[in-house]
Subunit: 334 residues, 2 copies
DNA sequence: GCCGCTTTCTGCAACGATGTATCCAGATGT
DNA sequence: ACATCTGGATACATCGTTGCAGAAAGCGGC
């Protein structure tokens, strides 16, 4: 059927292993031999069988990416960038959607999916550190995001606290005093919601503004859920002059609901988000948000993971990378 | 290292091949034997090595998905759905971004990527049918989208012409007479742009409204490009009372630019899109658009591809599936 | 008791590459 | 002149499965 190394070897008049050596850039090969092999490869249109290579070598040059839902715009943009970065280093990315279900996160961690990949970019939303540590296996794993903060793991994350604090400070500086937060529960202190909420509280403290639990609305991080959250706020008649959506999708859903209800943005209520997805720039009004250095996150996490796979990163402890951030001040909260 | 079939066989006291038979649901196995094997598998926590299986059997249970850019919202949503549908049938999806470059489309077609997958969901933007036909290889391939319309290929597409016609008719019914189209060139007649433009022209004809090339603005199908296109229209002072963006991203970018320039939507200019991405519902004003039956497209294309792979679909000619559509009339063009 | 058929299970080869050991020729050292 | 070393190539085993052929056991029919 397909052309194999054997065919190439025969045509080039060398042994099978020599062909293999040429392909793997083995040092000691006479240029003439190498050329013969390359010519034969060319003539036959030979392409290495990755499955066989993978079986024999134990490496697949694939990275696994586990996230809850690829259609969420932040994840879509992140995945796209991760794939580009990985591609530049000769790796592919295999994506698995967990739907934020514990069982799916678990099976991604030690099921067939794990086996197919040389390393994992893992965005857990449900599992706790000890469970992960228990099933981590021997292949490298880089945590993406902040649901799990544990010194044992390599982690690439963003400055959630400081970024949320900066954004809240910006809203306060604009004269807002009753800033609703959508996407966290008042008691959260870990995970992305908790960390961003912490930043919010710090900014309030700094400004001497009291924290009001009624302003904190739990919500899934989706547009529709953001809209529902605003609905709830308005229906409960909790007064507020700003909404800080803990991600952009949420914030955009919230903003939409505000506008529908006749609330003027930003005159009556300012709206801020987090992520700086492309959509934010083109919303109306355009969305003020935090740009969390997505490209940096993509480059560092893929780089770290591949370095681990290839044994270039040897640190015994988990490496912890925190990407920088910038506020993008736009019309929704000038 | 890992547990192999051999370990299971030893523990269960049967031959290696019997273990394999159990795993592959071979018919003639005594229930007692089967149970012994299953127990051994359980006890050892055995998991089949997919790479070895794939090498031996020639099947990977992976589908390839080639698209230009995963961060484009339509593709992100589509990919997410395709993955879910595939997953339900026991397949994974490996995504490759082509960046709409011919060389990438080509290499996806017969490079290592092809080798890793049992079949391809292909969204070409550059290649022509004959090139594809020449390099298609022996594995199944399903065309997604309409850049290539060729009876030789299995194709899953949407009713571009009729949907665009219906949307244009809706705009005309709302009294709009100078409907700008963004995302096609006046001469296009093939591919998604061409087909949608054709639908537009048919609706104009039906209504007895003349076609004006100056209203047709070519553009990439991205938000920023949509914004630039509107900028160009306004700068050229071409009068228009509606904008039909040939996809939602485009339409949303266009709408954003209109609003920035102080043009009222929909009072001064109505805006319509195509795709019904989630974002459209939550835009302000919410975007009138065409819902092209994305779930149906996902189900039919994955179903068809897997049926081909498993030999259940035997038609010699290309199977052609056209998903239904619905207009979603929202505030941007009531 | 022999034949043929089905049921149940086994052994060996093969998929297409890479790792290890080895071999040979020529260069080098003494 | 002989042992040693090194560059350049090869042979063979191996990765963990599945396909194929066939063996052993059970069973009914004559």
């Amino acid at each position: 059927m397909a052309v194999t190394m054997n065919d190439v070897a025969r045509l080039a008049g060398v042994s099978l292993k020599t062909v293999s050596n040429v392909l793997n850039d083995y040092e000691f090969i006479r240029p003439a031999t190498k050329q013969k092999v390359l010519d034969a490869i060319d003539e036959l249109g030979y392409e290495a069988n990755l499955t066989a290579r993978s079986l024999r070598s134990g490496k697949s040059r694939m990275l696994g990416l586990v996230l809850s839902d690829l259609s969420a715009p932040y994840y879509a943009e992140l995945a796209s960038r991760l794939m580009s970065v990985a591609s530049a280093r000769g790796y592919r990315v295999l994506v698995e959607q967990s739907a934020a279900l514990e069982e799916n996160e678990l099976s991604a961690l030690h099921g067939p999916f794990r086996q197919l990949t040389d390393g994992l970019l893992f965005t857990p939303l449900r599992l706790d550190p000890d469970t992960v540590a228990g099933r981590i296996g021997s292949k490298p794993l880089v945590m993406l995001g902040e649901h799990i903060q544990d010194p044992r793991f390599d982690t690439v994350t963003m400055k959630n606290v400081r970024a949320a604090q900066a954004m809240t400070a910006h809203l306060l500086a604009g004269g807002r005093r009753r800033i609703a937060v959508i996407g966290a529960s008042a008691g959260d202190s870990t995970g992305s919601p908790g960390l961003r909420l912490t930043g919010y509280r710090r900014a309030l403290d700094e400004a001497g503004v009291g924290f009001e639990p009624a302003l904190i609305v739990p919500s899934e991080w989706r547009r529709d859920a953001g809209a529902s959250a605003v609905e709830a706020l308005l229906d409960r008649a909790v007064p507020f002059d700003a909404v800080f959506g803990l991600n952009d999708a949420l914030a955009l859903g919230a903003m939409h609901e505000l506008l529908i209800r006749g609330v003027k943005v930003p005159q009556d209520v300012a709206v801020a988000g987090f992520d700086d997805i492309d959509e934010a720039r083109f919303a109306s009004p355009s969305l003020t948000t935090v740009a969390p250095g997505m490209q940096e996150i993509a480059e560092r996490s893929v780089g770290l993971l591949i370095d681990r796979i290839e044994g270039k990163e040897k640190s015994d402890d988990g490496v912890h990378v925190e990407a920088g951030f910038e506020l993008r001040i736009r019309s929704s909260a000038p």
